[in-house]
Amino acid sequence: MQFLADNFDLLWDAFLTTLSLSLLAGLLALVLGTLLAAARVSPIPPLRGLASFYVETFRNTPLTVVFFFLIFGLPQIDFILGFYTGAVLSLGLYTAAFVCEAVRSGINSVSTGQAEASRAIGLTFGQSLREVVLPQAFRTVVPPLGNVFIAMVKNSSIAAGFATSELSSLLPRLVNADAGQLTAVLLGVVIAYMIITLPLAFGVHRLERRVAILR
């Protein structure tokens, strides 16, 4: 444990990197995922097709390949992203596909009568989605969205292999400094991840109870 205390600065920096990476990617995924879900239920066929194409592409591609594409593929057509930006985009674009599917399942759980009623009183598609359908949809998808975001925090460890010095990149670094401390380093990194994921899980649980709809 002394070893971890000696390297607290490194742990703290790496923790902040993982945290900021998760927050930015999570925000991107939430916004883009919701827009995609709206597109997938929209009345415009090309929009539906495009959103389905996006979801099927990203959901069925290993995250490492997405990272490879953004970090090493794009520069070959002279489009160079910073390594951190590349990591945020990879993680966010990938997770958006899962957010989309979770939100869409929520939208489908809202009875069609609600959408029909809101259209009948003259709301546009966008208005009925914003004012009537999505608020109810989000309430039902809090637990699956929580799962998606917890998985995303752990997925952020892939950025270690792509030049972002986040928590799991500390493993090889500190083990090289002192191989005898392997167990302590592993433990420290796991605890640091839990400091992000456990409150996230707890918050999701609280939110779920607060917004639950009594049907």
Binding site: S52, E56, V65, G180
Partner: protein, 298 residues
């Protein structure tokens, strides 16, 4: 409709993969596998020693790298590694009466070499393993059997004019997280910007893309990358550290260590060491076998 959608997804994935095909690490010399070590027919060791145990078992487990051209690179056709480290391990096994095909190869990466030795998962480690005092606390080293040095690789023509580590100030230099060369840059050349991946092949991709200005690690590793780059990279050729490569054995097994040291010295004299170099790392770099380093019997 559904079919077209999936076909389109697949096509997109294909594009991604095509874009990612970067530089492959240097191909192993073809004759590297043609080992000609003479396996000892009759061996006799004092009972109770590691040598007696291994000779009795007729097989041994060796940890080596699987991703380092010239030193230890897995040949996907034979599913065995090839390289200088591998040949050194075969020489030692031969003295124990163990034929090359009876060696079980285990991939070791930088982070798991000590635990593998401590837990007895491997009998010895020959894996571009730099001897240092921190590691000697946990395990023991025979050798050194080779002396490498940290060097720098740049794009062909050296557009940034990098001649040594001092020139890295303000430049973006690539290495692998958890490696000694990366730590050396952090400690001694803090004005360089470090970009750290998990494997060196990504550094080569980043250098080819112009995302980094240079790659730094042990010269033997860089030599393999230069050889595989079709002239896209070049070595600065100005080693600025000394990295004696040793053979890791479990802590306190002094008899086994002395035995390996004896074997190495015999291989120096018989020419087997130089021959192993010529067929592996030397065949890739085109360099003559250097003078072998003196074994350190600490």
């Amino acid at each position: 409709m559904r079919t077209t959608r999936y076909a389109a997804s697949l096509a997109a994935l294909g594009l991604m993969l095509a874009a990612c095909g970067g530089s492959e690490a240097g191909n192993q010399a073809e004759d590297a596998a043609d080992s000609n070590v003479e396996v000892q027919e009759e061996v006799d060791f004092e009972a109770g020693t590691t040598m007696a145990e291994l000779a009795e078992a007729g097989s041994m487990t060796v940890g080596t790298k699987f991703d380092q051209p010239g030193f230890g690179l897995l040949n996907p056709n034979t599913e065995t590694p090839e390289g200088f480290d591998v040949e050194i391990a075969k020489l030692i096994a031969a003295e124990l009466g163990i034929a090359p095909e009876d060696i079980e190869w285990t991939e070791t990466v930088s982070a798991n070499r000590e635990p593998f030795l401590q837990n007895g998962q491997v009998d010895m480690v020959v894996a571009t393993y730099t001897i240092n005092d921190a590691r000697k606390e946990l395990i023991d080293f025979a050798g050194p059997y080779y002396e490498a040095g940290q060097d720098i690789m740049v794009a062909a023509g050296n557009p940034e004019g990098i001649e040594g580590p001092e020139d890295l100030a303000g430049k973006n230099v690539c290495s692998v997280e958890g490696s000694t060369p990366a730590q050396n840059i952090r400690d001694n050349y803090p004005e360089a910007t470090l970009t750290l991946f998990d494997v060196y092949s990504k550094c080569a991709d980043a250098l080819a893309n112009g995302q980094v200005d240079a790659v730094t690690t042990d010269n033997v590793i860089l030599t393999g990358l230069v050889a595989g780059s079709d002239g896209a990279f070049e070595l600065v050729g100005n080693p600025f550290t000394e990295e004696p490569y040793g053979i890791g054995v479990p802590k306190g097994d002094d008899e086994f260590r002395a035995f390996i040291n004896d074997t190495l010295e015999e291989a120096y004299e018989s020419g087997a060491w130089a021959d192993a170099w010529d067929r592996t790392a030397g065949a890739i770099s085109g360099q003559e076998a250097p003078e072998p380093p003196a074994v350190d019997r600490y």
